[in-house]
């Protein structure tokens, strides 16, 4: 009896040691990024081979952050990325949940075909679409006003909408919503239907208010993919005005040789996403795990 207890305790300790060792490998680069962002370049390089690389040094300061905010357009890039991500999240939740609602909760011919096509689209990587999409948006018109006159601009380059509109419809999100809506018990909306409620009422008053978890999941998926966009903005955004943060840091990386400032930049654009992830961890983990079961 005692022996078994001891063995279990030993086993638990051994597991803890192994898991911690692996954990250090996974977290060390991120920890190094944050810690270095508070150090001067000399201090970063002074003791790379010791533990102190991961510990605060005496010369702990915000100088790198000040430099990055003053020397680069980081504030403007942060604003762009925030706006783009917010628009993609809100718009994406609306259009994707509406399509999923029509497939899961309305009866019409062809919905099974639409569902099959959506599922098929989940496997198409964005890299496949990128070049053709580039030549498409180069030709699309966009309305605007110049000197009080209505004009049609040709081409979607250097704008916010070119970074938002193509990413609203998201096959993975439609599928997420569809799975959730399908499993909501029909009794919930049958009563409303009996009272003569139309599909709008059903969608806005019954289904969506009962879909908190899947809305949170879709929001996280859309937010992280929008915030981490890189390939698309480097192709369609040449100027600085509408540049988001990921191409922004790549630019800065090529221009400066201060590692402290680069790490400060990286910390500023990474911590918000890490914070969102930590806040919604439970839903996020559930959604990622769900992708594998169905696959």
């Amino acid at each position: 009896m005692m022996n078994r207890l001891l063995r279990n305790r030993l086993r638990a300790t051994a597991l803890l040691v192994v898991m911690s060792a692996i954990g250090i490998v996974f977290v060390a680069p991120l920890l190094f990024m944050v810690v270095s962002s508070f150090k001067g370049d000399d201090a970063i390089f002074a003791n790379l081979d010791t533990w102190s690389a991961y510990l605060p040094s005496d010369a702990w300061s915000m100088a790198n952050y000040r430099a990055v905010f003053e020397k680069s357009d980081l504030p403007s890039f942060l604003f762009n990325s925030t706006l783009i991500a917010a628009l993609v999240v809100v718009g994406g939740i609306i259009v994707n949940s509406m399509l999923a609602f029509s497939i899961a909760r309305m009866r019409w011919r062809g919905r099974q075909v639409v569902l099959a096509l959506v599922v098929a689209m989940v496997i198409v990587p964005f890299e496949v679409i990128a070049i053709p999409l580039l030549s498409l948006v180069a030709r699309l018109p966009w309305p605007g006003f110049e000197h009080g006159q209505f004009v049609l601009h040709s081409g979607w380059f250097n704008s916010l909408h070119v970074q938002v509109i193509p990413f609203l419809a998201n096959a993975f999100c439609v599928f997420l919503f569809y799975q959730f809506f399908r499993d909501i018990p029909p009794e919930l909306d049958e009563a409303a239907k009996m009272d003569g409620a139309g599909p709008w009422t059903l969608y806005a008053r019954i289904i969506m208010p009962n879909s908190g978890p899947v809305i949170a999941t879709a929001a996280i998926v859309l937010f992280i993919s929008a915030w981490n966009q890189y390939l698309w903005p480097i192709m369609v955004i040449q100027g600085e005005a509408f540049r988001p943060v990921q191409p922004g840091i790549q630019q800065y990386f090529g221009r400066t040789n201060s590692w402290g400032q680069i790490m400060a930049y990286a910390t500023v654009i990474t911590l918000p996403v890490l914070a969102v992830f930590l806040a919604f961890q439970r839903q996020f983990v559930a959604s990622v795990a769900g992708t594998g079961i169905k696959g």
Partner: protein, 355 residues
């Protein structure tokens, strides 16, 4: 009045389904159709010259290749010429002069076997170089990332205190953008002052140990694979974890009663139970590996000596940087065909498992 059992009105259905379907049609389907059309033209992004129909020229330029076996150089007496680096072979220019059918082909890849040199020559050698690199990267990252992910899933599936904490830690790199991960790792992989080499030097007690990770064509791709596995393993870990938790605990109990040890339980209960999860993870990791672009663009720009150029990197280089949309689209479609083939393979494997 609406009937409960009939079909919904077309206007109501249209209002709900149309926005997303329209967006899919315009931003996924239409680009693919345009791409298929563009592959038959010399269309350029923002070019004053009119686009011309060129037939299958783009495909010929991309895919045309020949495999040539080259004999070593021999001197007057017929003996093989050698120098410091071993057997000497004729230069490509000499080979082409002797064999005009090799035309405008240039070598993309070569290896020596049985005293002869086998050369893969192509009209776009960079495409074949990129294709080989892409497969090589997939071959490196697939076992590494999936193996690590499975190991992590088994660890965090144990009933120990703090497993949620560790799950979060292992997952944190997934949330970090690939650009940031690439930049931080570029620092860690630095030859002279990077942490990895400092660590190696301390372990080996050799002040000169440690390769030039990103500057040596032998190490650059493996280094990028290492970094990619670090960034992505947490995602696959969660998928494996869901698979592990769907295996009935009774199976483990039965196996234990029958005297199976931990390894036997892993082989005879865990692996068969994870069959479909493993296929899903393998295929999704392969698709991700084939999309390799960001790490290459940030860390190496395809170098050194094209050793990290990939299919997507080549497509972006042609279609965007050189503005040759017709050619870039051709690479895109060939890439799509490969991705589609892999997905169909997955479907076949899964179906076979179910019957």
């Amino acid at each position: 009045m609406k009937t409960r059992f009939g079909h919904d009105g077309p206007f109501a259905v249209g209002a709900f389904a149309a926005p997303a379907i329209l967006l899919f049609l315009v931003f996924v389907v239409l680009p693919m159709l345009l791409a298929a059309g563009a592959t038959l033209t010399n269309h350029r992004l923002m070019s004053p010259e009119p686009t011309q129909y060129v037939g299958l020229d783009n495909y010929r330029r991309l895919l045309a290749f020949d495999i040539a076996a080259i004999d070593p150089l021999r001197d007057g007496s017929g003996a093989i010429v050698r120098d410091d680096e071993g057997v000497r072979f004729p230069t490509w220019r000499q080979v082409r002069k002797a064999r005009p059918e090799l035309g405008s082909y240039r070598p993309a890849f070569q290896f020596d076997v049985g005293g002869r040199r086998i050369v893969l020559a192509a009209s776009d050698p960079l495409f074949y170089r990129s294709l080989i690199n892409t497969f090589l990267f997939a071959a490196l990252v697939l076992p590494l990332q999936c193996g690590v992910a499975l190991g992590l899933a088994i660890l965090v599936n144990q009933k120990v205190r703090g497993r949620v904490f560790f799950r979060t830690v292992y997952f944190a790199p997934v949330v970090t953008s690939m650009v940031v991960a690439s930049i931080v790792w570029a620092f860690m992989l630095n030859t002279d002052r990077g942490m990895l080499n400092e660590l190696l030097r301390n372990l080996l007690h050799d002040p000169n140990a440690g390769p030039d990770w990103l500057g040596d064509s032998h190490y650059a791709l493996p280094a990028i694979a290492l970094m990619s596995a670090w960034q992505g393993a947490g995602f696959q870990m969660l998928v494996f974890l869901a698979g592990l938790q769907s295996i009935s605990p009774e199976l483990y109990e039965a196996a234990t009663l029958m005297g199976a040890n931990a390894w036997q339980r892993f082989v005879h209960v865990t692996l068969p139970g994870l069959r479909n999860t493993i296929i899903f993870v393998l295929v999704s990791t392969t698709l991700l590996a084939f999309g390799l672009f960001t790490q290459v663009d940030v860390m190496t720009s395809g170098g050194p000596l094209d050793s990290t150029s990939t299919v997507v990197y080549h497509a972006v280089r042609s279609g965007f940087k050189e503005q040759d949309v017709g050619y870039g689209s051709t690479i895109t479609l060939v890439f799509f065909t490969i991705v589609l083939g892999l997905s169909i393979l997955q479907r076949m494997l899964v179906n076979r498992g179910n019957t």
